[in-house]
Symmetry: C2
């Protein structure tokens, strides 16, 4: 994020967001181009100063909204990065967040954005400003752990999805190969997904049934002692 414009901000604390998206079977990250300061043109995480009257969660929501116009996004605090030398010119502590967005939603609303933003495949991440590569690595590890313990992967998919889409998502995030049949059994057995009376359209093969994830069902199962594990 940019080291300028501190009016009404909390001294020395910024927010940085790692924004994950999923597109055509690959995991991607949204980066923004730096517009000011020493490092014009370099890519980095989306960030901004935390304001005096807002919490870090609120600040992250605001910063995310300013870029994407997206609201109500899955957002989780990652870690505070505090190395005194992480930014050369002055001391800045950053509180990093990661977020999972549905690329379809994003594509619709992201028109009126201020900064240059672009999706990068994990393999193609360039050198980023400050310690942003480190933050990104950390967030990837975190995502890989979390996605096995809680049903958060759905946030990367459209509301209605097929089981194979979901399987490809897990394969990509965890860098593993899965067996179609076993994956179906395992997921359906959890009774977490709502089967819809709809099928894929315009595919040149047998159309797959669509499912959606229901957070309420998950809550109820959790109360009964159910534990999502993949």
């Amino acid at each position: 994020m940019t080291i300028a414009n501190k009016e009404s901000t909390n001294e020395g604390i910024t927010i940085d967001c790692v924004i994950f998206g999923f597109n055509k079977q690959s995991l991607e990250i949204l980066l923004v181009q730096h517009a000011e300061g020493e490092s014009i043109g370099k890519w980095g995480l989306l960030g901004g100063w935390m304001r005096k009257e807002e919490s870090a969660d609120d600040a992250a929501q605001r910063i995310l909204y300013e870029l994407t116009s997206l609201d109500n996004i899955y957002l989780e605090q990652l870690k505070a990065f505090t190395d005194p030398n992480r930014v050369s010119s002055q001391r800045v502590v950053t509180i990093a967040y990661y977020t999972l967005v549905n690329r379809e939603d994003y594509n619709i609303k992201a028109s009126a954005t201020l900064r240059e933003a672009k999706w990068f495949k994990i393999k193609d991440i360039p050198n980023l400003i400050f310690d942003h590569n480190e933050i990104l690595d950390f967030s990837l590890t975190q995502l890989r752990n979390r996605v096995r313990q809680a049903p958060i992967g759905f946030n990367l998919l459209p509301e209605k999805f097929t089981l194979l889409q979901l399987m490809h998502l897990y394969e990509e995030i965890l860098s593993i190969e899965l067996d179609k049949s076993n994956f179906r059994r395992k997921i359906l057995h959890m009774k977490l997904l709502v089967p819809l009376d709809e099928k894929q359209q315009d595919v040149s093969h047998r159309a797959a049934k669509l499912y959606k994830f229901d957070a309420e069902i998950y809550e109820k199962l959790t109360e009964k002692g159910f534990n999502f594990e993949f």
Copy 2:
């Protein structure tokens, strides 16, 4: 932590530590008594200001050392707590840590401490200053999750321990009951523990074999794809 004495500190950022210990089959937390300000006599987490030239990790180590004289302790960043009103008088962001200590080590070295400190059982935690109860609750949830995913519980035990001690530790932290036989099988099957040529002393029943945890073995197993799961 106390809202005073900010010379050479980073503006508005403190460190708070949730210190877990395990004593006679119950999980306990070390709290310190507030000596200054509005809330004299109230209990809270051990805390202090982060200094300008140190990272949060370093600050946490230092603050912990100042109280306990303990070095090289298992310490992990929990979360930044940032509600603008979490401290009434002014805005203070805190970066919370949790740490697992071996009570035996602590008892030896904790003599020359500055503040009044006391161990509390989880059930007996009083009302704490600021949002420290919230931080504590969060750390408990975190501990319960982490202890199942990584071999960190050993930090709460003496270097040499019996399998039953370890089992009681898990039972207490996770609030569950475990089967002795099945627990032994599961843990020993991981081949993570080193059996020692030593037995318990001075017990009024058959003496149990002692084991120790070896971090190097764990590293090697992890490289081979082993995943600690309890």
